[in-house]
């Protein structure tokens, strides 16, 4: 699924990474525990999370996450956006819950990691 479609399905606003909206993503991981995100074994995934701080971006950098979907109306700070731009990461913000976003994306064909 293209990142643009991920944003559309989840009523997500594109915060940064507009140039990557045509990029395809096949798998997602939903978690509010960054420690768990660091255990995933696939790169280029979508991370669905309600944790919005600089370490969310650092975790995405180390785990090589492609796109971060912030749920529950959490907002990315300017520092987060600046770092994400430097790293070539996409940030989306969705007003819905993690469950709603995960369910809609699963239905749309995004697969779980396990």
């Amino acid at each position: 699924m293209k990142i643009a479609e991920i944003a559309g399905i989840t009523n997500g606003r594109v915060i940064c990474g507009d140039e990557l909206l045509d990029h395809e993503i096949t798998h997602a991981f939903s978690s509010d525990l960054l420690s768990d995100v660091l255990t995933v074994n696939r790169v280029g995934i979508l991370l669905i999370t309600g944790v919005a701080n600089l370490q969310t971006i650092r975790t995405a950098e180390m785990a090589e996450v492609m796109c971060i979907l912030l749920v529950r109306n959490k907002r990315a700070s300017q520092e987060m956006i600046g770092l994400a731009k430097n790293l070539g990461l996409v940030i989306l913000e969705s007003p819905g819950s993690m469950f709603a976003a995960s369910g809609k994306l699963y239905q749309g064909g995004i697969r779980p990691l396990y």
Partner: protein, 141 residues
Amino acid sequence: MKFEYLIEGGDFIRAGHASSDIKKILNQLNLDPAIVRRIAVSMYEAEVNVVAHAFRGVMKVNINPERILVLVEDEGPGIPDIAQAMQEGYSTASDKVREMGFGAGMGLSNMKKNTDILDIHSAINRGTVVKMTTFTKSGAS
């Protein structure tokens, strides 16, 4: 090549800075991306551990063609029982650390999973030394 970074306890703004820097350097050296990712994850876990638990620390990275050595030495409370701390789910992290998304008790086991050799030594009320060795070619020893 040798690099050294200071890590301040409690500084969740800069946490990850050292790991990010080394990850970029390793990528520039055209190392296998899978190995770079393993090193980045284990280094970052170690860096966050210093920020979350210690007063301050230093991360020393030594890169040679055969292996990457990461040494993290901190001044802090130390780990009373390393075997217990290695168990997934065991954590002594504060509420503040948990609010940041860490403290799930996955850090040390994830470091072990992502390094070829992990050595941890700790002294109560003095600090902890973590040594992580990763070989650049799988199967090397």
